[in-house]
Symmetry: C2
Subunit: 135 residues, 2 copies
């Protein structure tokens, strides 16, 4: 029971790619992953992109669209990758996943006059992080 069955269902390549992203303190780019996994036998872009695609579907990582980079999911609220929100510092580029019920409730129930009901959203906030605000 120690590990609470975490990522037992990941395949070899998926696990390798996930480990890299999870260990990183910042968003990771696909080709940076590729470079870092060459030593583990992954040699070509499709291997990385397929793993990324699967991990996104599983909700284990998210793509930060404005940066073409990937982060591990920290909130465990978005297991199916349906509702994601990030804060992005415009100076140091730090990206943090936002877990805020008021925000997610508001957005999940948002419905506009077009009659379109949304099943998924991605929100990216930009500003200055605490550290960078001081300087």
């Amino acid at each position: 029971m120690a590990k609470m069955q975490k990522e037992y269902n990941l395949s070899k390549n998926q696990q390798i790619v996930f480990d890299i992203i999870e260990k990183s303190s910042e968003p990771v780019k696909a080709y940076s992953i590729l470079y870092n996994v060459k030593k583990k036998g992954i040699k070509a872009p499709p291997q990385v992109y397929r793993a990324l695609e699967k991990l996104i579907k599983l909700g284990k990582i998210h793509k930060v669209e404005s940066k073409n980079a990937f982060v591990a999911c920290k909130s465990s609220n978005c297991e199916i990758s349906k509702a994601t929100a990030f804060s992005i510092c415009e100076i140091c580029e730090k990206v943090t996943e936002i877990a805020n019920n008021k925000l997610s409730n508001f957005l999940n129930s948002f419905e506009d006059k077009s009659g379109m009901k949304y099943k998924k959203y991605n929100l990216e906030f930009f500003g200055l992080c605490k550290k960078c605000k001081k300087t």
Copy 2:
């Protein structure tokens, strides 16, 4: 007074690129723009990307990040490109800019516990448009 001074300050290339985007009923990709302006003397990617960059700064167009494509601003609320929201149909890929005060007020005043204050956001909703929902 007929035209209410609209885009008088756009340079030649900026105007050419903007016209293409504004006339399109769907998001336009950079290389599609490039292809379409070859006849007007614009020959290389940087010319297009520079115009795009400027138009974005001016708030006349927005980039739809999840599609790497560009749309003309329809809301005139986001003159400085600070607060953008789009609805995107997952089937026909139609993109519509959302102008909704409740939404923009909520997001503009959103502040999370990290102490980070946001000056900009981009939100992309995904779902099925009215037309595609029927089928």
